[in-house]
């Protein structure tokens, strides 16, 4: 049976089509203001005109009427990480509106997890706000900060950090070094947060921010463990959802 996994995130909606144990099709769309419609679009584009068992995850997991099952992004990220990186012991996901750390147990299921969902600091939104303040495109993040020494950013609130950045700019600090400072702050905060799980071993880094090599390397520096990514890191949740569907329809 064909299986669809859809991860409705706050920023992007990801979907995969599983045929056997192989991902046959991938799709990512900006979530926009109508997560329900975006899920439907992803669903229809993957489904085409054949039946598929569909598992949804992410904060919009209950929004798709055609969904056969919904599972939280914690469980799905753990399963997806195992698929993309079988030797990972920990998953760190920095998403658009929250970040999470998941310790995998011996069976590669969820052993323990923590979520930061109370505050934009430490999430992808923080980086987005920073890049907007500096009039830079998110896609150019790595090139923009490469080889710059971070300027310490002390504010841990996104709104106050923006004020702090404006203050630094008016004092003549280089925007690139400020941006690197924000990345350093967010990675340090995420590492401290993840260490509450008493982690050991390779960390699989997923979520939108995993696309940045500099963020990956900075996170690795603060964690003291190998941090690995996969070119399809962003799809970890959707893949996990599809694999859960597969386990129900082998």
């Amino acid at each position: 049976m064909r299986i669809i996994g859809i991860d409705s995130g706050s920023t992007t909606t990801k979907g995969v089509l599983l045929s056997g144990d192989v991902v046959e099709d991938w799709l990512i769309l900006p979530t926009g203001y109508n997560p329900r419609q975006t899920m439907k679009d992803v669903y229809l584009q993957l489904k085409k005109d054949q039946e598929a068992y569909t598992v949804t995850t992410g904060y919009g997991r209950m929004l798709l009427a055609e969904s056969d099952k919904s599972v939280t992004e914690i469980t799905c990220h753990a399963k997806g990480a195992r698929y993309l990186c079988p030797f990972a012991k920990v998953v760190i996901d920095i998403g658009g509106q929250d970040s999470k750390a998941i310790a995998l147990d011996a069976q590669q299921g969820v052993g323990d997890f923590l979520m930061n969902d109370k505050c934009a600091a430490g999430t992808g939104r923080f980086i987005e706000v920073m890049m907007r303040t500096l009039h830079q495109d998110m896609m150019d993040l790595d090139a923009f900060v490469k080889d710059y020494e971070p300027i310490p950013i002390n504010s841990m609130c996104t709104v106050f950090a923006e004020s702090e950045m404006i203050g630094l700019l008016s004092n003549g600090a280089l925007p690139n070094a400020i941006a690197m400072g924000v990345i350093d702050a967010i990675c340090q905060r995420t590492a401290t947060f993840a260490k509450r799980l008493s982690i050991k071993g390779t960390v699989f880094f997923s979520g939108g921010l995993a696309q940045s090599e500099i963020i990956r390397a900075t996170l690795e520096k603060h964690l003291g463990f190998d941090v690995v990514i996969h070119e399809r890191s962003q799809f970890a949740g959707a893949i996990g959802a599809a694999l859960i569907g597969r386990s129900m329809h082998p």
């Binding site: 904060y59 939280t72 969820v110 323990d112 109370k118």
Partner: protein
């Protein structure tokens, strides 16, 4: 009798006890029965009961008066303290309004400092609770504080509180504890007989019933009925079994229980103040020194304001086994430092010695985090 009623109706009746109690409270006042308002389980209820007073809990569980409280108190303070103070200040809580005296204890820093301002609105008596259960000086202090409470009540209400009356109150309260224990022990049934939300409704509602004997009879009748129905096959679906520990819950914080039960688990035991924490141990009726017996029982309550706090672990240890618990959820109210700090030792104990999953959540009296609670609790239940 309530036996004729359907169970959901009885649970609702307990849930409505707080609301319906307002009228009862007014009637009691009209009969010149004094009312004593309390905040914590450390308050030895036997003393005011011995003088024939009604005792009511003033711990607030809604965000209605938080804005009014924040005019005077810091924003970053526990919602229970802000809300309780706000109800006192705005006179929106009839129980506060009808209370002739409010009794607090020097439990956490937030509460003891809040009482200083609350006394501007109501006569307050603050009992000095020691920080530890393990010193003779602390014990002596607590015993003398119970005697000081007795004297304060005698002076304010111009009555004599005899040892005989205290003994009777001890027997009555013990009987109530035994009844409530028997009720929440229904949580041991597997598959369960009732939801955690219903257990909570009864435990919380019971604190607003002024006729203790009647309350004992009602809870016993309810327990009998549930047991009988269970034997006749009225059982809930088997699901993972969760224990809730931590800060007091009730009112709006029922959202945590709902988030757990809406996502595929049952709450089978409440270790919090509203649950077993203050009910589990009885006052020793055989101790000839009644004030010694009261001091022993009340000082042993396992609240995080005590250092160290092994009695919380002891109760968790027994309950996890007896109630066949699959996972523990520790509820921390925002800015409750003592419970927040204790999450580490509870996690170590639950993960380490009991080898079952543990999670802690921080919440407040708003509904802004209902979505996040759903995700966290669903993910936690998926782990079980």
């Amino acid at each position: 009798m309530h036996l004729k009623k359907e169970l959901p109706e009885i649970f609702e009746q307990f849930a409505d006890a707080r609301k319906n109690g307002f009228i009862l409270a007014k009637e009691l006042k009209e009969k010149n029965i004094p009312m004593v308002g309390t905040f914590c389980t450390y308050m030895p209820q036997e003393i005011p009961l011995a003088m024939g007073a009604a005792v009511v809990s003033l711990c607030a569980t809604s965000d209605e008066t938080i804005a009014a409280a924040e005019e005077d108190l810091p924003r970053n303070l526990c919602p229970l303290i802000k809300s309780s103070y706000g109800f006192g200040k705005t006179d929106k809580c009839p129980y506060f309004y009808f209370s002739d005296l409010v009794v607090g204890e020097t439990t956490c820093d937030g509460k003891k400092k809040m009482y200083e301002y609350l006394s501007e609105y109501k006569p307050m008596h603050v009992m000095e609770l020691p920080n530890t259960q393990f010193s003779q000086d602390g014990f002596n202090l607590w015993k003398s504080e119970i005697l000081r409470l007795k004297s304060a009540l005698e002076a304010q209400f111009n009555v004599e509180i005899t040892d005989e009356a205290v003994k009777k109150a001890i027997i009555l309260k013990n009987k109530e504890r035994v009844t409530l224990k028997r009720f929440y022990a229904l949580g041991q049934l597997n598959p369960p007989a009732l939801s955690g939300l219903d257990i909570l409704k009864v435990l919380y509602g019971s604190t607003f019933k002024f006729d203790r004997e009647a309350n004992i009879d009602e809870v016993n009748a309810l327990t009998d009925q549930i047991e009988a129905d269970y034997k006749n096959g009225k059982q809930l679906e088997s699901k993972p079994r969760v224990l809730i520990t931590g800060c007091p819950i009730g009112g709006v914080t029922e959202k945590v229980v709902k988030a757990i039960e809406d996502n595929g688990a049952h709450v089978v035991f409440f270790e919090n103040c509203m649950g077993a924490k203050a009910i589990e141990d009885l006052v020793d009726e055989n101790n000839p020194d009644i004030y010694d017996a009261l001091a022993k029982k009340y000082l042993s309550i396992g609240c995080s304001c005590m250092t160290p706090n092994p009695n919380r672990i002891k109760l968790l240890d027994a309950a996890i086994d007896t109630y066949k618990v699959d996972g523990v959820v520790d509820v921390v109210l925002q800015a409750c430092h003592t419970y927040a700090i204790e999450t580490l030792s509870i996690k170590r104990f639950v993960n380490g010695e009991k080898s079952i999953p543990y999670t802690s959540i921080e919440t407040d009296y708003s509904t802004s985090d209902v979505g996040q609670l759903q995700t966290r609790m669903a993910a936690f239940v998926e782990m079980l």
